[in-house]
């Protein structure tokens, strides 16, 4: 994966570390990045995108906690090798990943002036509609 595939928006108001988490988790969960594939090093992302190493490190740490990537000492960061990484996550890992996704959803919604309650109502309505369709 090339660093150029990571496009950050400095004027969106969404914190950069969260944008990196969103971009990489989106690529991993959609299958655009396959298990075992190397992701760019902190140095490469820092140099190419002109962001602070701490920011990239925090984004990678969150992805690691969510079980989406793993660090191999001396080699760098890779997409989690487990073939069923998306399905075999523990409840704790799933919860952390949901936390990350929900936080980014709330941040993005906040930029458009949508309150947390409205986001929650929207999700409830969507869930109800999906349940009804399944029946």
């Amino acid at each position: 994966m090339n660093v150029s595939e990571l496009t950050l928006n400095f004027s969106s108001g969404v914190p950069i570390y969260r944008q990196i988490v969103q971009l990489l988790s989106g690529k991993i969960l959609s299958g655009a990045l396959s298990p075992g594939e190397k992701i760019p090093s902190i140095r490469d992302v820092t140099a190419e995108l002109n962001v602070n190493p701490n920011t990239v490190a925090k984004a990678y740490r969150e992805l690691e906690l969510a079980g989406l990537i793993e660090t191999r000492r001396g080699m760098g960061c890779f997409v989690a090798e487990r073939d069923d990484a998306r399905h075999a996550l523990t409840d704790e890992e799933k919860r952390r990943h949901l936390d990350t996704l929900f936080a980014s959803l709330v941040t993005s919604a906040g930029m458009f002036g949508i309150s947390e309650k409205d986001v929650s109502d929207y999700l409830t309505a969507k869930h109800a509609a999906a349940t009804k369709n399944n029946k």
Partner: protein
């Protein structure tokens, strides 16, 4: 299946939030480290200050130069007042003043953007470069023109420019000056406590630095009075160089702190002055 029970059971223990004071003092300390890390930054700050002095000279000189060009050189305050009280000269004076002010503002913003973009590079663990800084500033040419046009009539806006707008412009190519200001204010809202407390902290540090400079200059002046003229001149020169260096350092330090706060606001993570990006540990 994730239930609310499993989610609550696995929830991490709440972390006590860090106080603003300790966060600001750490950032001030790190800004000091960044200020002394790369000599290119000090040179850039020196060029910035030199141009500011040139601009002030141009601004003040313009007022005296214009009557001379019109064939009515003013040597006294009365002559000066009489000349500028003539109605036909008032409009020209205003136009000349605004033009000089615009160019001065543009140049100082251009150089400040050069400095800020390289400060951010140093915060990010890279080396500062003159050419790259100028290239960055040149790529924001029209943003700088529109912003300078907006702030030219309001002198005090240079503070807003230095503190919040120019650091944001280093990575945002908006040409609309009102958008620039709005985005800068939105970022400032995220760190307003640290920003205000940081200004107090900077003032305390600068106060002690100036005490040191004035104190040493007073000692130099006292000693030079007792010395032969040659040694007195050498001592005075050392004093002037020391004062200039201190002034450059103060200017650089303030900008390093402001850029650090901008990184924190825009990236969501407090920056640290790593010597190299690879030295960051994930664990």
């Amino acid at each position: 299946m994730i239930t609310s029970d499993t989610m609550t059971a696995g929830a991490p223990a709440p972390v006590k939030p860090e106080s603003t004071v300790s966060s600001v003092s750490r950032m001030l300390k790190n800004a000091l480290l960044i200020s002394v890390r790369d000599s290119v930054l000090l040179n850039l700050a020196f060029v910035n200050l030199l141009l500011q002095v040139f601009y002030i000279g141009l601004f003040l000189g313009g007022f005296f130069l214009y009557p001379a060009l019109m064939g009515q050189p003013c040597r006294t305050q009365e002559e000066f007042n009489v000349f500028y009280n003539q109605q036909e000269h008032k409009a020209i004076l205003l136009a000349v003043a605004l033009t000089i002010q615009f160019f001065g503002t543009f140049i100082s913003n251009f150089l400040l953007l050069t400095l800020d973009s390289e400060i951010i590079r140093v915060w990010n663990g890279q080396k500062a470069e003159f050419k790259r800084g100028w290239r960055t500033a040149a790529s924001h040419f029209w943003s700088l023109v529109t912003w300078s046009l907006l702030i030219t009539p309001v002198n005090i806006m240079w503070v807003v420019s230095m503190c919040i707008v120019i650091p944001v412009l280093t990575r945002d190519k908006t040409v609309n000056p009102f958008k620039m200001l709005w985005r800068s204010l939105l970022l400032l809202l995220k760190i307003w406590k640290e920003f205000l407390l940081g200004i107090v902290g900077m003032m305390v540090i600068l106060y002690w630095l100036f005490c040191l400079v004035f104190g040493s200059n007073a000692i130099f002046t006292f000693i030079s009075r007792q010395c032969p003229p040659l040694i007195a001149w050498i001592l005075l020169s050392i004093g002037i160089i020391f004062s200039l260096l201190a002034l450059c350092f103060c200017y650089l330090f303030c900008n390093c702190y402001l850029c650090g706060q901008y990184i924190k606001a825009s990236e969501g993570v407090e920056p640290e002055p790593f010597p190299e990006a690879d030295s960051v540990e994930l664990a």
